[in-house]
Symmetry: C2
Subunit: 363 residues, 2 copies
């Protein structure tokens, strides 16, 4: 994405000012809370260390007055639980690992949010990392997360290296895969089906009378979600009795500019195209802007549908027909399944949360 050529830049401020150093910048601040151990609290309260431990973690097992004395001592000393030591001693961790393909992508952020909310309500925390869509990177991240002794792992991906799979199988913790319905899940899966959703949208377009429906996605070779969407599209074409036209099937790099480019190309190479299904990223948005620029009426000249129901597509001109995927819910349910399993409950192993088609002005 280059800066548009009609852009003039005004550099207003562009310097780094090292503010005058703080007196204590070297880092010799008094760790008045850092070094306080549970035993210090116990001494301050005049009780044993175990009483402090109980007062903090199982208050019911301690008498009300003792509890008060202990909590006062905690406040006074500025004690902060050391959950590293707690994890080691109890062999029970309270952090969950999450690996997403890209931190920046708002779609994953929604799932992340759902996960974080549910976990926090149960006192668990989240370690987040992104694989940059690389399986090798994912493998490395799985390793470091296991080394952190996470109590569970959630992956927004269903393809993994053999070694990553082995590590996870051996880890003895709940593993959740999402982002698609895996053929052979490692442990549990919570998602929607990309193939089903893609097929449904294609059929929806066919039902509305479109005959030459183009399909645009991200790279199908390295991205399972993209290839599943292509599969769904092709299946739908067949069942709708439309013929497959290779010129109408495209792959695009992520990004708005890329969507505009593909749109422009399709219109030039195959003017007979009457609908385009953008099955990924923000491609549909770029196409929409390109159409505005060129004066192509949507849906008069060309119809546009998108895979994800991005907020911007709900308010654009025209509003864009989309699939609505339960991304937030996928996050919540994933976290819940993980919690259930941790509590020994029989958590559901597979969960297909489905999707909806949102018909709007663009088709």
């Amino acid at each position: 994405m280059k800066t548009p050529s009609n852009t003039s830049r005004q550099r207003v401020i562009r310097d780094e000012k090292d503010a005058s150093a703080r007196a204590d910048a070297g880092g010799k601040r008094r760790p008045s809370g850092q070094g306080v151990r549970m035993i210090d609290v116990a001494d301050a309260a005049g009780v044993s260390l175990m009483t402090v431990s109980r007062a903090l973690r199982q208050p019911d097992l301690v008498s009300a007055e003792t509890r008060k004395i202990v909590l006062d001592a905690v406040r006074k000393t500025g004690y902060v639980t050391n959950s590293v030591a707690a994890t080691l001693a109890s062999n029970r961790s309270n952090v969950v690992g999450l690996i997403v393909p890209s931190i920046q992508n708002s779609l994953y952020a929604e799932t992340t949010k759902g996960i974080a909310d549910v976990l926090r309500a149960s006192g668990l925390h989240l370690i987040l990392a992104d694989s940059g869509n690389s399986l090798e990177e994912e493998e490395a991240l799985v390793g470091t997360m296991l080394s952190q002794r996470v109590c569970g792992l959630i992956l927004h991906n269903t393809d993994h290296t053999a070694r990553a799979v082995t590590s996870m199988e051996n880890a003895g913790i709940p593993i959740i895969e999402t982002g698609d319905i895996p053929a052979d899940p490692i442990d549990m899966a919570v998602s929607y089906s990309n193939a089903e959703a893609s097929s449904a949208m294609t059929l929806h377009l066919a039902r509305r009378g479109y005959k030459r429906i183009a399909f645009v996605s991200l790279d199908t070779k390295t991205n399972r979600r993209a290839s599943e969407r292509l599969r769904g599209y092709l299946a739908a074409l067949k069942s709708a009795g439309l013929r497959k036209d290779p010129r109408l099937i495209r792959e695009a790099a992520p990004g708005i500019a890329s969507g505009a480019e593909v749109m422009s190309q399709l219109m030039k190479v195959t003017p007979a195209v009457d609908a385009i299904f953008f099955a990924g990223d923000v491609l549909a948005l770029g196409a929409l802007f390109e159409a505005q620029r060129q004066g192509w009426k949507i849906p008069g000249r060309i119809a546009i549908a998108s895979f994800d129901d991005l907020p911007v597509l709900q308010h654009s001109v025209p509003r864009v027909t989309c699939l609505r995927l339960p991304r937030l819910d996928v996050g919540r349910r994933s976290a819940q399944a993980l919690l259930d399993r941790l509590q020994g409950l029989d958590a559901p192993v597979h969960l297909n949360l489905g999707f909806e088609i949102i018909q709007r002005e663009s088709t």
Copy 2:
């Protein structure tokens, strides 16, 4: 944001299928890697535990052949470092805490990405949480992160409760604040100045000849970044010799729909307005769509500028004049400053990374 009334929903699939339970769903998988301790590797390799520890962490201190034997044993046993125990024993942690106002907001995601990348390159990990713009929630999160013994903390916020500040001051770890230039930083700060940026954009609009410049932001009472932007706007008005008109100053909820709503209101109540500076969130985008819908020419009838240089504003019709904030860089530099401090270097205490104005078609 309600679903537009012209939307018809087609529920295509909406069920949860509990797939037939896995044979071992109860969770009795063999933890063949989980229970492997360093001592087991040592036994397998016929060396002492310490030799294994060295072979893994300081390979140079071990002879080449011993190293090979140990690494083979590690592979054979499926050993995974227990960094919980390592942290406790060495009193040195390798996770950094990050608290952002909202995980879903892509603006924060960019900074998060910059942080994650730099940290990973140094073998550190990230614990992420969002405060939901609540200072109380932030205080709680600071507590839990300190209890995890993070080796550093990054906050995308410069306002904190007194107790949160005290905790952080006492923690004895590097603390980085960002999102604005704090008047009295806890430790280090890496950011741009919201007031400066807002002022610069307002002056930019004035210089281009706009006389009645409206200002729209998020809630200035609870959001320091918003109030700083308002301050910058007011200062710029004064220095440009424009008078302040209360009807031209608005606050809006976050979201595209909200931006459209404010745009519509401003045009109705004060038709003389000739430019609007949307100082937050995706408000400018909503305004843009509203203008498209109403047929108001941009910038002929009304000019629009935005605070953040969102990708969508770079490709919209028209392209929107924005401030470009170094969000990715803020993340990278924050992480770097933290790393420097951890290594005992004299890291810069304050860093003002500045900003640029990107003049585009909308003004």
